[in-house]
Amino acid sequence: MISSLGASFWALPEALGRRANLLGRTLSSGYRLVVGRHGLTAWQASRRVLFAQVFFTGVQALLPICGAGLALSGIMMGVGYRTLAGWGAQRDFGDLMRLVVLTEFGPLLTALIVIGRSGTAITTELAGMRLNHEIDALEAHGVDPYAYLAAPRLFGVASANLALTLCLIASTYLGCVLLAPFMQGISMPIFLSDLGEAMLPEALRRCVVKALLFGLTIPIITVYHGFTVGHDINEIPRAATRAVVGAMSAVFALDALVALVAHG
């Protein structure tokens, strides 16, 4: 009883430590790659993996991200603007957009889409590579799997997540502007000026920080679960589920942490 309580107590720091170890090894391998310790051709091979990751996570997700942004604009105008207008506070819509879209739902919704789309793909791909002895073969032949597999995914997902967050926010604002003429009693110049004035640099900074934090957290967790899969093929879907739940929990926890720190 006491030992199982003790084991549960140490499970979280141990799990965090393992992921921190993966982050450290990936960053150190990425650094060695970039400064040329592995040579130019190894860097070029990893760069191809990086571009493929950015293409898959970023470019191919543009449509669902813009769709989500437009859907969010419908919610913001349909619920947010109408509610504020009912209270006679429609001039505060810009502030609502800043708080809800720019600093909260923009980064969070993007991260959830990236987890669902790319996070699962990373875990299942790497787990398949582990079971197919591809990672063993890389290690046995002197290829650093952290440089060739983990680092391109870390930097690819982080940069794509930041770009996608900005795209989602831009499409939400665009959707609101497109929907505004259909709302009753709205003055477009005042509406546009309220939106622009409320977009504070501090909010934009917080959005970028969150997008980068989420973008680094997602690949760390999904790569970890892909690398550490067991030797049974049934482990792959389990690893993918663990990766999704772990990444979502981490993103929510980080979101709460950033909110607490930012608001004192």
Partner: protein, 201 residues
Amino acid sequence: MAEPLAGGALLELEGVRGLSLRLLPGEAVAAVGPLGCGKTALLRIAAGLEPCESGERRLASERTAIVFRQGGLVRNITLADNLLLPLYYQLLPSSEAEERSSAALEAFGLAPFASERPGGLSNDSRILAQFARATALGADLLFVDDAFSQLTRSAAAKAERWLKDELVKGCLAVMMTGVEAQAIPQLPTRIVELAGPGAAS
């Protein structure tokens, strides 16, 4: 940088899963035994893919290679890139790496498939490509995990011929596994029989 071992040995195992052996250049050793007796586990420890929980493993080789009976090649890159990748990490100039990779593929009759991905190739080609990778790398220590039982007779003969040549030249040491001694190529091979889970006799 690996420390040199006494007598020029490339690999020494001492009490690893109950087994002790020394492997010198030009020597071949095969661990044979029934399914589940721990052959692959022993080979993975020897190759440094698993930690050595009991006993001691010492390695003096700088260029090890491994041939798996299944998989072992990165599926989303071409066969040529599978051979080139380890050479890039050896800091070889790309022209030399490409030369060595092409020559190795040619030697195993795989040149026509150089731009194919492993998934589109036969099992024979995939296993021979791993031998070609060892050739391109200039491996001095090769681990072969029960690959010969998966090869057709002609492909096995090709791999066996290459192994014999390299062993005669004295520039390679080989550690193999197999379910039975007949599945091991006819080389001057020391056979180690693994009787039960983790035990050697």
